[in-house]
Subunit: 204 residues, 2 copies
């Protein structure tokens, strides 16, 4: 493995383990048995290194495609499961989310676009679910509320889990928050939708 890739993968490993802010450049370098300025050669600042991890996560998430036309409650929720699994792989980023937004210009600038895309997709998914007879939402406003609530869960579930659900394993944590999203949708589900929800929750 080339030096750059060794740095990236070990950084992710150690950041996930101890938190980005608690792993110094010297500690990372020592673990890799290289010198700090060797890291600097590939990543001029720590922000550049963290930004690289963020790009990797984005790339991973972009591989998760959802067919909006043929969406179902099942595929909608299983999609979130995949995203949550990626979140776990890069949990160091999500646990320092607010920090990074304040401090890392590269990440915060890019995130604005990502965030907009996400809520657009989410909104259109929900509307398709309504059209396809899985959801029954008359008021457009309720769609916006659902978008807002689900976006908040998707962004902070892992932070909450790290603080409050540490007794659960990662699978259990994901199950909990997928269930939460399902139950928030629950009041609006049609019979067809409700059946799928049961199925998904049992299959988690």
């Amino acid at each position: 493995m080339k030096t750059e890739e060794k740095i990236v993968s070990k950084a992710l490993e150690m950041y996930n383990e101890k938190g980005i802010e608690y792993v110094g450049m010297r500690e990372l370098a020592a673990t890799l048995n290289i010198r700090v300025s060797n890291i600097t050669y590939y990543f001029p600042t720590k922000d550049h290194l963290v930004n690289r991890l963020s790009l990797d996560l984005n790339q991973l998430n972009s591989q998760i495609v959802i067919d909006n036309e043929n969406i179902t409650i099942e595929s909608f929720l299983l999609n979130f499961k995949k995203i949550f699994q990626n979140h776990i792989k890069y949990r160091c980023l999500l646990l320092s989310f607010v920090h990074l937004m304040e401090q890392n210009k590269m990440i915060s600038v890019r995130y604005k676009q990502t965030e907009h895309d996400r809520s657009t997709t989410l909104r259109s998914n929900l509307k398709t679910l309504v059209k396809a007879g899985y959801l029954n939402i008359e008021d457009e406003k309720n769609i916006e509320i659902l978008v807002s609530a689900i976006a908040l869960i998707a962004r902070f579930w892992i932070s909450e889990a790290a603080v409050s659900l540490r007794h659960l394993k990662q699978d259990g944590q994901i199950r909990h928050y997928i269930t939460l999203i399902g139950c928030i949708l629950s009041p609006y589900l049609t019979l067809k939708g409700r059946g799928q929800l049961e199925k998904v929750l049992n299959g988690l």
Copy 2:
């Protein structure tokens, strides 16, 4: 004002402005025109100082009492409004929440108790609202889901607002998340409850 109080109030002001991690002891001392080791005399470590702010917030929140017996949808939501206003006063703490839980032993130990109390209160509030005919929730499981969802919103609303709702003023942000809580309750509201919700949301 005594030195200790000057330190606490200026620290809160600067931490809220720039973020706890971005205000150094030297900068704080310089602003107060005292020396760093003078701060150290009252607060041996920065963690001690931050913990003091956390205690102050706890104290402020504990002044918000809710009469569980005579609770209504209105008092329930207005209660959250008060808590959210306190959150804004001490927003530096909530914006560094995950960080503090990992790093500051004093805060994290105390928080476990607070968290438990909060969800207990929340659960009993919802049950009372059911008994009083504001909510219609047959399945006990749905109460747990609501507790979980509302707790997550209450803990991270200000982080989300800092990233995504910066175009809104503080009042608007609070209104947004109170509305969100209201709308999550909405599917379970009785007619009586629904009327109160409208009233509260209009009056925000």
